[in-house]
């Protein structure tokens, strides 16, 4: 049997615009729920690896025991420096990180830990969101200066305006005066509420407790390769020269490793999956209600079609068509609303709420599956229509 050329699914769905609007609002709500939950989930991972994504490096060296960026397990700088002379390596750069002991204190506000990134200003390994090196990095050569992440949480009490202009504001870092010389943009994540960037010289001054030479241990080693070399080949060769306590990875691999830690070793992925699952379930219920009500409203008409000799296959097609129309028509406003809410969320929480094509497509597929499930549940009602009751 061919699909009927009377577009019954479409006609029934659009016959009553008020009902349609309600139905679409329901589906859009479910779409919104799923988008939000998936969005927070992605925001967690995106925000966590945002720093890694910004690093201008091909390969990263780190302590093998460092299970996540937050774990503060370091490795000796000599290991990194040894790599600099290897063939295929253009440059190496240490990146120093401090978080737990880096307490930022703005007068009149409580002291809070902040993530401090220290690196050698000679080669700027850091890209801004737009991929540009922040011009203000040059000002960091002065002692006791740092750049402030404009996306840092407001409860630190930093004055962004004066930071922009580089004017004085009373800020202490680890018990020592600090001058905010400008702004850059990175973003928070679930473990870090704000960021400061400074030169390695300044970094050594603030965090003396890291050792006799505070710069002797490195958090992340950034390796840039000369252009045109086979990355895999160089990676294998370099890896063979490193002690077993240290691991070397491509930047993207490290990114995935980091995400993998948060997804697998913490309940966060599960929590948001449950949240999205609830959105999905709510969607199934809403969509089922819409379809089942439509079937109940047209009970006699459908029973007539059964009497006329329409078979199961037709009704499956009909209900699924209707379900997919609902899915697509409800998805579009859901997508627009979600995008708007992402912008709001981002500005409220400082989390990165990225809405990529891939993620939008995933939710579209989820929405289609959601409505299909509802359709399959609702179709039992239709098939139970008894034409004998019509006479």
């Amino acid at each position: 049997m061919t699909v009927a050329s009377v577009p019954l699914a479409w006609k029934n769905l659009t016959h009553d615009p008020r009902k349609l609007a309600l139905a679409l609002a329901g589906v859009a709500f479910a779409v919104l729920l799923m988008f939000q939950q998936r969005g927070f989930n992605h925001a967690l991972f995106d925000s966590t690896v945002e720093l890694v994504r910004r690093l201008d490096a091909d390969l990263l060296v780190f302590n093998r025991a460092r299970f996540a960026l937050t774990s503060e397990l370091r490795f000796p700088r000599e290991i990194l420096e040894r790599l600099a002379s290897e063939p295929g390596v253009a440059s190496v750069q240490p990146l120093y990180l401090e978080n737990k002991l880096a307490s930022a204190h703005r007068a009149g506000f409580p002291a809070r830990p902040i993530r401090v990134l220290g690196f050698e200003l000679s080669a700027l390994p850091f890209r801004d969101a737009a991929g540009e090196v922040p011009a203000s990095l040059a000002t960091l050569q002065r002692p006791d200066t740092a750049l402030l992440d404009r996306l840092s949480k407001s409860y630190y009490g930093f004055d962004l305006e004066s930071a922009q202009q580089g004017t004085e504001q009373a800020v202490e870092l680890a018990g020592r005066q600090l001058q905010i010389a400008g702004l850059f943009s990175l973003g928070c994540d679930f473990a870090h509420e704000g960021n400061l960037v400074m030169s390695s010289e300044n970094f050594a001054r603030y965090f003396r407790y890291r050792g006799l030479d505070p710069l002797a241990v490195v958090d992340l080693g950034l390796v840039k390769l000369t252009s045109g070399v086979d990355r895999e080949e160089v990676l294998a060769k370099l890896r063979a020269k490193l002690p077993s306590s240290v691991e070397l990875m491509k930047r993207e691999e490290f990114e995935q490793r980091e995400i993998g830690f948060w997804a697998r070793s913490t309940p966060i992925g599960v929590i948001f999956a449950i949240g999205a699952g609830i959105g999905f379930a709510v969607g199934v219920i809403i969509c089922y209600q819409i379809l089942a009500t439509d079937i109940a409203d047209h009970y006699r008409e459908f029973a007539t079609l059964i009497a006329m000799g329409y078979g199961k296959k037709y009704f499956f097609q009909l209900v699924l068509q209707q379900a997919w129309l609902l899915a697509i028509l409800g998805y579009l406003p859901g997508l627009v609303l979600s995008w708007m809410l992402f912008q709001l969320n981002s500005s409220w929480t400082g989390l990165l709420m990225n809405l990529t094509w891939e993620r939008a497509l995933t939710i579209l597929v989820l929405t289609l599956v959601m409505c299909s499930l509802s359709g399959l549940l609702a179709i039992r009602k239709l098939l139970a229509a008894d034409p004998a009751s019509l006479f």
Partner: protein, 380 residues
Amino acid sequence: MAELATQPETLERLLRNWFPTAEQMSISAHAVNHFYGEGDARKQVLFDNRLDVRAGEIVIMTGPSGSGKTTLLTLLGTLRRVQEGSLKVLGTELNGLEQRLVIALRKQIGFIFQAHNLFESLTATQNVRMATELLGLPATEAEPRIEAILRRLGLGQRLHYKPKSLSGGQKQRVAIARGIVHQPRLILADEPTAALDAESGREVVTMFKELAERDGCTIIIVTHDNRILDVADRIVNMVDGRIKSNVLVQKTALLCQILQQYPLFRELTPAVLASVADKMSLQRFSPGSEIVRQGEPGTDFYVIAQGEVEVRTSGKFLTRLDAGSYFGEVSLLTEQPRNATVQAVGEVACFSLAKEDFQAVVATSGSFEQQLRQALFERQ
């Protein structure tokens, strides 16, 4: 005579009605019982229903509500499973029929329900198209057919209206169009004319008649509408789950038409003619068979409807008789054995009237007796 010109045709119809062949049978119900409920609540609603309906017959079913006519209708329409007995519809035994074949059979049935059951979201044309979609007809064939039927039913100006903008009668007519547009071989209609005014009701009935006569479509109508009783070939009356009466009304009417053309019956009043016709039956004889044998007691009076017979007395050829002639009256009037043998020459069909019925008619109608005796006298 102009009237005589129509006789063969009327007779054909009568013969068809009287002697339907197996393949002409559209519905054949035998010992159909039906029950509702289970266990202690099980209640019988149909009792030993027997019904034979020829293709092209229009049957009107009457009976009080709860008499089982609706149940029988749903059984005929394959909308309920046959529980006991045999029910053949359009040549298919429904008892134990697998679902796939049920669906195939439904496509040959046209359903007209009491409620219109139209999709509010579809226009009149689209609602009717739901029936042609099922046949897979190309649009070039289906569309003109849909339009023609709707126009015929007075909806030419409403082709693209949705049910909301149609009156109750118009909606019912759209539903009727949907029920017949696919040229079903069987139409089951439940009070199809209840919502219609006299004029459109008549138009619907005329269409039914055309479908029955032209396409041999069998039509079963459950109705209380007296205005349409005249289209019925057969009226089935049901009471308490039993078929109380099953009358071929058209048969009597056709018989009267034929008898009227014979001199013997011409003088009879319509009432007497109808009572004669009502009691008459139609018999067929193969070539050479003896219809009446000399010396045997007389049992029937015969009027030849079709074919020729030879009359012999003691082996001696007397005469040939053809359509409109009658024989066998003498022994019934005189209470003596048959005085001649009558043999069919070719295929012969005769109307016959049993002795008691014949004598009853003679006793009540002086003119009939006079005609007979006159003829008897003239023959001697």
